[in-house]
């Protein structure tokens, strides 16, 4: 955790909104499947809209059917990675390795291989897309940091609250900063739960991040980030 839940929220915001992995992941429609992209479509900071990735960073793909059946998928190692569907929910987990920031920019290399490193982190990312709802989607689907609605989010309208639980390795996790449309709205409690208010129709973008210490010499810290997408008419 980046801070104990007892630390004032304002302070938590300051501590936890400096996630430096800084890349968004999202899943675009591609017929009856999905294409995984990385870039800066949803985050507030600037950067290239599309940032290509090595398909080898993908660790696990989980598809849950409308009937609630869970399936592990091994997509072809091509860029952009295409994942066959349809899925009621789709979760992609990735490990993009170590990133190091220097005075001249940020590189996807370990700290000990870069001259003039200012800071570094090991990025573990996840992205979940919901198409429809089923009770099976109340549980976490993967092992990384994950955002899971506690009830059907497709019934919500602007002004309603989206109730989420944040898990890590399938267990509720406290102290995780959660943002709506890129704006930090709070930190999860001991039960991993947090409530966010729906502000608009269309694509809902909820993100969460967590800094963890690491003993790995290749990075100063481990940064876990995850995103949840779904559409409201």
């Amino acid at each position: 955790m980046c801070a104990s839940p007892r630390v004032p929220f304002a302070l938590l915001l300051m501590l936890c909104t400096t996630v430096s992995s800084a890349h968004d992941y999202w899943l675009d429609d591609d017929g009856d499947g999905y294409l995984l992209y990385r870039g800066h479509r949803h985050s507030s900071h600037q950067g290239e809209r599309i940032v290509p990735y090595d398909p080898a960073i993908i660790q696990r793909v989980t598809c849950v059917s409308a009937a609630g059946q869970t399936e592990r998928i091994t997509p072809a190692r091509v860029y952009p990675t295409r994942i066959p569907g349809p899925c009621a929910a789709l979760l992609v987990e990735a490990d993009s390795g170590s990133w190091t920031q220097t005075l001249t920019g940020t590189t996807n290399q370990p700290r000990d291989e870069v001259f003039g490193a200012l800071r570094s982190w090991h990025a573990l990312e996840g992205v979940k897309r919901l198409e429809t709802w089923s009770p099976a989607l109340r549980r976490s689907l993967g092992g990384g940091l994950e955002l899971t609605p506690t009830s059907d989010p497709f019934r919500l309208r602007p002004g309603d609250k989206l109730r989420l639980v944040v898990t890590l390795q399938g267990r509720p996790y406290a102290g995780v900063t959660v943002a709506y449309d890129g704006e930090a709205r709070g930190v999860t409690g001991d039960d991993g739960r947090i409530n966010l208010r729906i502000r608009h129709t269309g694509t809902q973008v909820i993100t969460a991040s967590l800094d963890q210490p690491t003993l790995d010499s290749s990075a100063d810290k481990r940064v876990r980030s995850t995103a949840l997408f779904f559409d409201l008419p």
Binding site: P5, P8, F9, A10, M14, Y180, L196, R197
Partner: protein
Amino acid sequence: MNATMTRLNLFAGRAHSAWLILGAALLLVVVPAAAHHGIAGLGAAGLMGPGAPIEAATSATLPRGEVLLYGKLDSARYTTFDPDPANPESDYANYWMAGVGYGFTSWFSGYVFLPYHSKVDEAGGFDTHGFADVSLFGQLGFTYDRGWRLIPENESLDDLEDWHFTVFGGFTLPTGNPNLRDSGGEIDPGKSTGFGNPSYSIGLTATKMLSPRLTFNQELSYIGFQDYRYADGNRTLFGEEVRANSALVYRLYTNMERRFRLDLALEAHYLHLGRDRSNGTPELATGGDMVYGLPGIRVYWHNVSVGLGYKTVLWKDLNEQDEQQGGEGTERHRLLLTFSALF
């Protein structure tokens, strides 16, 4: 208690002990405490959460396990009417307040307040100084989110936009001195620094963020007193106090990196003071109704909050109004300075 004072007896204000009211949600707190002589209003707010008024009570409980330190100065300067130096009137009063709060749970906080009062007359009058009655308060917080529930330990900014409510209650302990005597050996209950007997208070607050920057706050509260027989054999029962305090707080500026926030507050306070009774007989020139206006600013920096307000009477209807001086409703102004820090 009713702090209206007559011009004849030259009351300068009463030794009201502190009573508290809590304020809002997350982190920094503003406290009230003490009837018209320094109401302790507690309010907590994070850098982005609901704002807290300068004096009115708000609907925030303290975070579980956290300690609040609070200080307040309510400096009242009174209008005088009689230029005759042989008849000195109440000039000013400083009501200091120190307090400590603790969050027993996320929905229940407890507070202790120690007031110190200075009541000063014009030259030749009777001045009193001293610690007043210690007060103890408890506050229970609720929110409305798909039904009533106690304030949870963890709330997001979106949760903080919901209606929040508190119920509070407290009482004073007669630790002050109710029997201060002037140079003539007379006891003036209005100049004492203690009530002699416990007083009690109850109240409600409601708070709602109307927008990400604007917070509405409402307080309703009551303070009751007990009859006390002074050392000179006379008895006094101060009149009850009823308050309806409304406030709007606007978050003017926030700097997250510096953990700094600046709020503007505008408060309207209605106060009803019951008529005092002396030896069982209603006392003239005591009690009445009034409305105060209170613009102010509040600054938050890290875990500290400082509020500054200027309070004036906008309207009043006092009993035997022409005979009252040196109490509520007859101030030229009040200056309020509050400090709070959360650890």
